[in-house]
Amino acid sequence: MDSIHDLGGMHGFGAVPIENEGYTFKDTWQRRAFGLTQSLAGTVPFCADMHRKKIEQLAAVDYLQLDYFEKWTIATTELMKDSGLVNDAELASGKKQFDVNQERHPPVSSVDLVDAMKTGGTYTFPDGSRHPKFFVGDQIKVRSNCAEGHTRVPRYVRSKAGIIRNIEGIFQFADSVANGMGPDPQPCYLVEFNAAEVWGQDAEAADDLLYLDLAESYLEHA
């Protein structure tokens, strides 16, 4: 989705607010918003790419103005609405209007939740489950298309030439999992781009390098 979240290379956002924004949580509600999303992920359930997709679908002015953790909370809320777990009237009033099936949406205990965080997600499939189309050293070009849904190929490398530097393994495909269409496992490649290829004659230093991990579906032979 070519929306405002794809910020790489854009002009006009000013200086990095280093001094005053070293914090992670500025206020208690941000802290709780973080915990709430983590607590609900297994229960609803949703994965990170589904959550990112909801954030990307915010109107550009909201994306740029809302607090990071408010955006997280909106995304979580939208996913809960999609699963039929809350409705707009409840959200407006703050009062529960209907019960949900806890067997289908079981709450996660403290122990299980912290264990899940310590374990992490599973994104990979056995090597060899998909034969890579590209090899280390191959020249590739990033495809010019952009899915209207969630995707993980930034606009600034689209149509650009790069070199495969590593086959990272066989991973789930973000575009597919974000749409609830299953993992569509495929090789993910570490791709190296020259600054001059990406930014042209305006590159700060022509030989500087950019590295991105890109799914096979995003790439074609140069």
């Binding site: 990095v16 607010p17 208690t28 607590s39 954030i55 912290v114 310590k118 997600g121 993910c188 991990d213």
Partner: protein, 204 residues
């Protein structure tokens, strides 16, 4: 615990925009608890887990270990995932790690232009500027200028490598060990490593 949190909640709200956000979060939390979707204790536990057990001190100990143990350093750069997991730092957003080494010839810096991917087990949760539009838009296009604003003036002979976290692999920078640190032990070395050093916006 819930009462105490409610006190916190009321104690810190300042402006209307934040108040709106805080009310939104609170409404969702109360609904989720009322419907039995969230265990309030679990909510608190997961926040505490991140605040207490993750954070840049983990990454700093990885760096200090690499500075003092050439075999570990070699392993860390070859298989960051296994080397970091061997020190007990693993879990969500740290399942697949690549550690990139700063040298006299190369400076590395990490970003997530599309959202805010960050290696939670070794660095904790990211600072606000890492998630904001200025850093995300500029660090890929004009890394040298941005790094100068962070106080890092790189020689034009040093190559800058920017790592954009677009998939499931998370990056971490291995800073150069400063001069005149021969006398320091692992703990003392870890103490001089900063979060920004491991993002690549500081030298160490």
């Amino acid at each position: 615990m819930s009462d105490q949190d409610n006190d916190h909640f009321h104690g810190h709200v300042h402006d209307p925009i934040e108040e709106g956000a805080a009310l939104r979060v609170r409404a969702l939390e109360e609904l989720a608890i009322a419907k039995g979707l969230v265990d309030p204790a679990a909510l608190e536990s997961v926040i505490e887990y991140y605040e207490r057990e993750t954070g840049p001190r983990n990454g700093a100990s990885v760096v200090a270990h690499a500075w003092t143990d050439p075999t570990f350093k070699d392993w860390l750069l070859r298989d960051g995932t296994a080397a970091i997991h061997s020190m007990g730092f693993k879990g969500y957003q740290g399942e697949h790690m690549r550690v990139v080494e700063n040298t006299p010839d190369v400076h590395n810096v990490i970003v997530c232009t599309l959202c805010s991917c960050y290696p939670w087990p070794v660095l904790g949760l990211p600072p606000a500027w890492y998630k904001g539009p200025a850093y995300r838009s500029r660090i890929v296009r004009e890394p040298r200028k941005v790094l100068t604003e962070f106080g890092l003036n790189l020689s034009k002979h040093r190559k800058v490598q920017v790592w954009d976290s677009t998939a499931e692999i998370r990056f971490m920078v291995l800073p150069q060990r400063p001069e005149n640190t021969d006398g320091l032990n692992v703990e003392e070395l870890a103490a001089i490593v900063t979060r920004d050093g491991m993002i690549g916006t500081a030298s160490v």
